[in-house]
């Protein structure tokens, strides 16, 4: 399994049956492909859809039916459409259970920077700040390092923060961290990943709090 697919599959395990989930672009979009059969989630798209389904084939694309990444989507039975004010009312008002986002950087306190692009004028934010503010649980699903091989998890971000709110969970191709009391806690290693590799590719301090299944693996 490739790294991105692994991240998506691992993140999928965090979702519970009935969750309302908002997915960022990139890896987060893949997560729903890895849900177990007995877990059904409802995908919320901030441009005004509850109940987003799989991508259609190109011949079935409907120009009026896109997700927040502006890609053609389908809708499932029981879906609904609403305007942007209502949609962000759902987000800010705490009615979206989980949001799964990508990020550019994460600091040592679990705060993310995922909107302001490096070296460029800050001209786009979209719904990122609202999602960080309002979602019940925030999961970051991201490659451990950036395109240049540099750690995304760093002491302090060089980019502007998206929110003061720390995320709840970080899933990479190497490890899973949770954030509690303003500290990163490594709770799981990916198969074939080692603590040494995680330390090497992480630019921030973290505690280690293996979850039970890791302890039994004798890490």
């Amino acid at each position: 399994m490739k790294a991105k697919e692994y991240i998506a599959a691992r993140t999928a395990k965090e979702l519970q049956d009935g969750d309302v989930v908002n997915l960022g672009i990139g890896i987060p979009t893949l997560v729903v492909d890895y849900l177990p059969r007995d877990v059904r989630v409802f995908v919320h798209s901030e441009n005004g859809i509850l109940g987003v389904g799989p991508s259609p084939g190109p011949e079935h694309a409907d120009a009026d039916l896109v997700n927040a990444g502006k890609l053609p989507v389908t809708v499932e039975e029981g879906s609904s459409f609403f305007d942007s004010a209502a949609s962000f009312g759902m987000i800010r008002g705490g009615h979206v259970d989980v949001t799964i986002l990508g990020t550019l950087e994460i600091n040592q306190r679990g705060q993310i920077a995922n909107w302001a692009v490096p070296g460029k004028a800050v001209l786009g934010v979209g719904g990122a700040m609202d999602l960080l503010e309002g979602a019940g649980k925030v999961i970051v699903a991201t490659m451990h390092t950036n395109k240049d091989g540099q750690p995304k998890i760093v002491k302090e971000t060089s980019l502007e923060l998206t929110s003061l709110r720390p995320v709840d969970l970080i899933v990479t191709e190497l490890a899973v961290f949770c954030v509690r009391d303003g500290r990163l806690r490594l709770i799981e290693l990916a198969p074939h990943s080692t603590l040494e590799e995680v330390r090497q590719k992480t630019g921030a301090e973290f505690d280690i709090e293996w979850r039970e299944n890791m302890e039994t693996k004798g890490v």
Binding site: G18, V20, F42, H44, L50, G51, V75, E77, G78, S79, S80, F81, F82, A85, F88, G89, M90, I91, R92, G93, G94, H95, V96, E133, G134
Partner: protein
Amino acid sequence: MAKIIDAKEAVALIKDGDCLMVGGFGLVGCPLTIVNELSQSHAKDLTIISNNLGEPGKGLGVLVLQKRVKKAIGSYFTSNPDVVQANQKGELEIQLLPQGTLAEAIRAGGAGIGGFYTPTGVGTKLAEGKERKLINGKEYLFEPSLRADVALIRAYKADRLGNLIYRKSSRNFNPMMATAAATVIAEVDEIVDVGALSAEEIVTPHLFVDYLTVKGECRL
């Protein structure tokens, strides 16, 4: 997925001291089956956010007579003399808001907005004690948003997921209240299969709705 419960189970979700939102404009659009059941229960010290408190001996008016309402927030209580009397006796605290301010405060609460500035009521008795702000040269009053522990709302049809549609003027405060409470219980005429309501016609998407109760026989 909304859970289907009966009116007794719905009322069991309400605890002493809870703040309730109750939909309706007078008795129209009020979840009367659940309210009727509530009047058979024992929950007390309730705060009720509702445009009115029913009519004498009807709907929420019964709870007033039972002295189980500690405080009411709404826009029009004059039509129920029992409410006026309970207030005069000091048994019932009343917070009066212009109807548009009430509706907006509930919507704001559901949408994660902390408060807003309305021009309604500036310079009147209802502005007393409220923060004022000039915005573009015009005076506004600050109004904090409202939220509740439990919302009891009335809709026409629900699907099994909890998507709701309303009927005619019984819509009124119900869609906003569906967004503004920790627990939302909708009383409906009918529960239909998922897919029976079109994506365009759904007024309240299911993510707001926790429980569904089918309307029952209701003595009034």
